[in-house]
Symmetry: C2
Subunit: 359 residues, 2 copies
Amino acid sequence: MAPLSSAKTRPVRLADIAKAAGVSHGTASNVFARPDIVREEVRERVKAAAEAMGYGGPDPKGRLLRAGKVNAIGVATAEPLSYFFDDPFARVMMASISQACDATGAGISLVSAANNEQLAWNIQSALVDGFIVFCVDGGSRLVELARERKLPFVALDLDSDDDDAVAAIGVDNIAGASLAARHLTELGHRRFAVLTLPCADAGFGPTTREQVEMALYSATRDRLRGYFAELSRVGVDVSRVPIYETVNDEKSVWAGLDHIFAGAETPTAILAMSDRMALHALDWLRQHDIAVPGDVSVVGFDGVPEGAISKPPLTTIVQPIAEMGRLAVKAILENDGSFSRQSLPVQLVVRASSGPSPA
Amino acid sequence: MAPLSSAKTRPVRLADIAKAAGVSHGTASNVFARPDIVREEVRERVKAAAEAMGYGGPDPKGRLLRAGKVNAIGVATAEPLSYFFDDPFARVMMASISQACDATGAGISLVSAANNEQLAWNIQSALVDGFIVFCVDGGSRLVELARERKLPFVALDLDSDDDDAVAAIGVDNIAGASLAARHLTELGHRRFAVLTLPCADAGFGPTTREQVEMALYSATRDRLRGYFAELSRVGVDVSRVPIYETVNDEKSVWAGLDHIFAGAETPTAILAMSDRMALHALDWLRQHDIAVPGDVSVVGFDGVPEGAISKPPLTTIVQPIAEMGRLAVKAILENDGSFSRQSLPVQLVVRASSGPSPA
DNA sequence: GTCAAAATTTGAACCGATCCAACGAAAGTG
DNA sequence: CACTTTCGTTGGATCGGTTCAAATTTTGAC
């Protein structure tokens, strides 16, 4: 009886109901887009026809073409999609981006992909008005792709020495890293270890300063420069500071600490390039009965909320994530072509994971 | 010199470069869509023209209309957008949804809005192939809206006694809640308090069984039924069990506990309808020096990862969130019209927040 | 050198709407 | 009653591509 099996076929267009209602498609369109300008009787007739034929309202696909604007911004990363919900930094950033979008009524499309080919396609075919690009790992490729699309886009946290023509919002990684290192040197630490974000395309393991200098992702580079600038300043021989490259997950961080603490001269302070790494490090240290900050101090980078409630709470460099998100959205939506790069200040927040060097 | 100020105007279409390259638009289209079938010389010529004119590749807006498929699924909720990144349950669910999407190459569009009018518009104009609807709070309206769009959609965690014609994936809330309550009764508890999810449209405060029976969101209803079924079974007078309605945030949960523990007969066990509430409750109890589980036991609902690392770790009813996400995506993408409602089993996971009743 | 088969290219139709100039009818004016 | 407004409606143009049958060119065989 009821038209319930109409799930398969749905070729019911605006034109169909216009015909059914005996009006032109122009009028039918107006019924939905500007109901006030069509006579009530006609309006009701068209609506009735729509109802009867199971019309779900004007298809946005059609409208889109004419309107030009999608009213959604794409957020892209080279990580799998679940990165947006798994990674603490991404989550906070996304929360602030989404708040900014909410305020302006824009939607959010998550753009990403496991493999590179898929990623290119996804970016090329994303229905968005612009992109916000998360530049962790594989950032330059992503930026390249986004730029090819010829849409407004902002890179989050991009390369200090990369192409100046791309809009970017980031923090001063060098200054932040220096701040972190100085905090530790002032506490008397002289034996350090560094946990870095991914530099090469994949994998983790011990690495060198030279390797990091070639990192794909400049934040990694800059943070190391910042660390080492400060360490050198107080006379630490940076060539002997172990650097371990991780992929920002528990496994690689733990492997890193296994490696670092297997050495003859164990560090009293660990500089981690992300809070996520630092938090995993805290776990590892606890499990190995190494007191924090008694035996070893840990300083992170990012300022994610988890750091405030970890055991112990994490000393870290906090980025103005909310501000970055807001600015990024603004840059896309109000894109006047003029926007360029913007560097925001970071802040050292001292909590309980750092203390005076032992002995 | 370089064409860098072309940011403002971009009226360069496929037809333009076709003309420039001296080929038909059909051929120009092929150059991008099926490069293999066009002669190399022509292909290069067209590509060169595209490059020269700053063409960013075929605009998906145009392709979309013909293709019909957007290749993205919309995830909708009546909460603000940031809900997806703030709420623990939503996050886990989204992570599993995004994994499923990644596997199939589909994108994700976040659909939401602060106010109701905006929400309706957003749903009507979302460029997606289907919706996954988060039914917390305001679920029925959302379902209504989604259904009007005449696209495949699945409700997550919908009403047991709601319209049978809407596809839904959920858990057996009654059974789960019973399980939680039975765990506590078996530990000897007889004095309970219940923290509920939002029932009425807004606000929080003490409520009654009758109120909850009228809850907009059926999970709330069912969970209470499950709790009370078990409590009644062992002879607890459920009419005297305090029920406090929260809005699932810290403030309202704390207010709830203030209220509950201000009463003459304080509970030895708290049944919380979400882990989020349970975790906030744990915080409140710790701050009030009430031992968990020594003085008071707490049992949550959902099974979010935070529960495993809380202080103490949370006893809870875990939902098969990953499975639900996978099924939901599958239901949308492989929509054959046949899909209907599916109820998944839950599981009691006993951790350290529950113990024998004191005395 | 001729002719059929294979490889390319063309141009029109179409996807589903919105927009707008022009038009007809009803209402208002002198 | 002729004439200007106002209101509502119409139908064609347009958004930016893809697709496909038909036309054209190239290639291969004899």
